[in-house]
């Protein structure tokens, strides 16, 4: 298991946003977390990536307990993530954005930048090369020198993924990578996620576009009101009665029956 959570819970002032979730991701898999709005998917991501401290439970990565580790340490260990809203450093170019993504793998400090020594040059080169490499991988080479604020929405989604890739991750958490983009563009992102898997990466995504999820994921977890209500292959999940009810219930009122 690359990542596993045991009894993971997060409450905000008495409200259980994530409630005793046991979940595991195998190395090399593409897995998806689905659920109605407000079911705790993003909170689950936030707890796994360390933005929120869990109220209870444990998180293991490569067998190591990372429950108490700060956000940056988890990224160093190999967990990268993107955000739902494409948070980028908007006043810089695409390339500049991605270069920062590899900073964590360098050791350049004050003395090195002052003297511009070998390590400084080596690290600057390393970050630039890494950035160019992941930009090419994400199909963004032609946009590298454009300011991020002037590129289309789909390209921004790709930049966000490229930044995550620049951190040299093992596991990439994608929070709605296809939100707000059209059908063709969604296909493009789907392709990119596949390519990531072929590269040996493990991917876990939250997504509302069912077609994309069913198409990509080998394993799906369904959350509802913070609880895991089902788990399995796309077929198993699609035919699960509880899941269907949960999805219908989110539109009408589930508590009536």
């Amino acid at each position: 298991m690359l990542l596993s959570t045991v009894n993971l819970s997060k409450s905000f002032g008495g409200l259980m946003a994530v409630n005793s979730v046991d979940f595991s991701i195998k190395k090399g898999q593409i897995v998806a977390i689905i659920g109605p709005n407000g079911s705790g998917k993003t909170t689950f991501f936030n707890v796994v990536s360390g933005i929120h401290r869990p109220s209870a439970g444990k998180i293991f990565f490569n067998g190591e307990d990372i429950t108490g580790a700060p956000v940056y340490e988890r990224t160093l260990k190999g967990i990268a993530r993107t955000f739902q809203t494409t948070t980028l450093f908007s006043n810089a170019t695409v390339l500049d954005n991605v270069i920062v993504g590899h900073r964590l793998r360098t050791k350049t400090g004050f003395w090195d930048v002052l003297t511009r020594n070998r390590r400084f040059k080596e690290d600057e080169r390393k970050c630039r090369e890494k950035a160019l490499e992941v930009l090419e991988f994400a199909g963004l080479s032609n946009l590298a020198d454009r300011p991020v604020e002037n590129i289309p929405q789909e390209a921004r989604k790709r930049v966000a993924i490229a930044m995550a890739l620049a951190t040299d991750p093992q596991l990439v958490l994608l929070d709605e990578p296809a939100a707000g983009i059209n059908f063709d563009e969604t296909a493009g992102i789907t392709e990119l996620v596949r390519k990531m898997q072929k590269r040996g990466l493990t991917v876990c995504l939250i997504e509302h576009k069912m077609q994309m999820v069913m198409n990509l994921a080998e394993h799906i977890m369904v959350l509802n009101q913070g609880m895991k209500i089902a788990e399995g292959t796309p077929e198993e999940v699609a035919n699960n009665k509880v899941v269907i009810e949960a999805y219908l219930g989110s539109d009408d009122d589930a508590e009536d029956d």
Binding site: S49, A92, V100
Partner: protein, 331 residues
């Protein structure tokens, strides 16, 4: 690597200009104004690192400059240390206090950080004002010795002091420039834009913010020590909150988050103030609204405005947009 690249030309021209300035200017008072402008600029470069590049609105900067100045002054007066070791110790001590203040204050964010650091500045000012036995209170410290001769070079003349301050100003700009144009600088700018995203990219933002704060207070300490050695008198007024507001003015008029901004702001504003009688009298009545107008229309100040203009002209003249390698072309 040629020294005279096209990119370096304006900077080198300015350095040469600053070197021959004392030969051109004979007015002693004007010389003094420029020296003071340089000293303020050194402190403002510090503010630029933490505020302009890292995005943390620290408002205790004059307090730290006061610590540098009083440390240098007291080491000289009470322990008889000469200017040079006193200066070094003053910088280190200020940076150490900056580190301590940074550890606690940088855990707060946004407006809380501003209010916190403002209070730190006020505390420093009140302590310096009230600790009569040590600092002389409102009477201040009198009779601090200037720098003793370094080998054959004496620092008695105004010209010599000008060159001394200029040397440290250039060193400050050099250090600030190297930090900003590097992975370290990129990291700081990333924190300014989004602390959360930077943390998710695997960067220990706290460590980086503390580094920026320590560097900022180090420059404040340096400016303070130079001030003590040049003016030779210290009063608590020099580290009051109003002085921090003055530095904000210099930074934002010159260009917040730009490498030339602190120098432009400090120099332009202090020379205008001192050379025009009207401005001197109505100083803040004039500069207050200017600051507001700039922050609304040119948030990156004069130099930021110049950069926008320059980029616009360059875009209109595509022929000059040379590829990466050609920029090293000899001037």
């Amino acid at each position: 690597m040629a020294l005279f690249t096209r990119k370096n030309c304006p900077a080198l021209a300015l350095v040469i200009l600053s070197l021959i300035l004392p030969l051109v200017i004979t007015n002693k008072y004007f010389m003094h104004v420029i020296i003071m402008g340089y000293i303020w600029a050194i402190a403002v470069y510090g503010l630029n690192i933490i505020l302009g590049y890292t995005g943390q609105t620290a408002l205790g900067h004059a307090g730290f400059m006061g610590i540098g100045a009083y440390t240098a002054g007291l080491l000289n007066l009470k322990l008889g240390l000469s200017f040079w070791p006193a200066m070094v110790l003053a910088c280190l001590f200020t940076a150490f206090l900056g580190w301590l203040a940074g550890i606690v204050s940088l855990r707060t964010r946004g407006h809380y950080f501003s209010i916190f650091t403002l209070c730190v500045g006020v505390i420093i000012h009140v302590v310096i004002t009230r600790w009569d036995d040590l600092t002389g209170g409102m009477n201040g410290l009198i009779g601090i010795s200037g720098p003793p001769p370094a080998g054959p070079v004496s620092f008695d003349s105004l010209q010599a002091q000008y060159y001394l301050v200029l040397f440290f100003l250039l060193a400050t700009i050099f250090v600030a420039g190297r930090v900003v144009n590097s992975l370290v600088g990129r990291t700081l700018t990333a924190i300014k834009t989004s602390e959360e995203l930077t943390e998710v990219l695997g960067i220990n933002t706290m460590k980086n913010k503390i580094f920026a704060f320590v560097l900022a207070t180090f420059f404040a300490g340096l400016a303070g020590a130079l001030y003590a050695g040049y003016i030779k008198f210290l009063g608590p007024q020099m580290c009051s909150v109003s002085m921090t507001f003055d530095m904000l003015l210099y930074l934002f008029v010159g260009g917040n988050g730009t490498i030339a901004g602190p120098l432009i702001g400090s120099l332009v504003l202090s020379t205008i103030t001192e050379s025009l009688q009207v401005v001197q009298e109505y100083r803040t009545v004039i500069f207050g609204p200017i600051l507001i107008v700039l922050i609304i229309f040119f948030p990156r100040g004069l130099y930021g405005g110049y950069e926008i203009l320059r980029d616009r002209i360059r875009r209109r003249l595509p022929a000059r947009e040379a590829p990466e390698g050609a920029k090293e072309e000899v001037c």
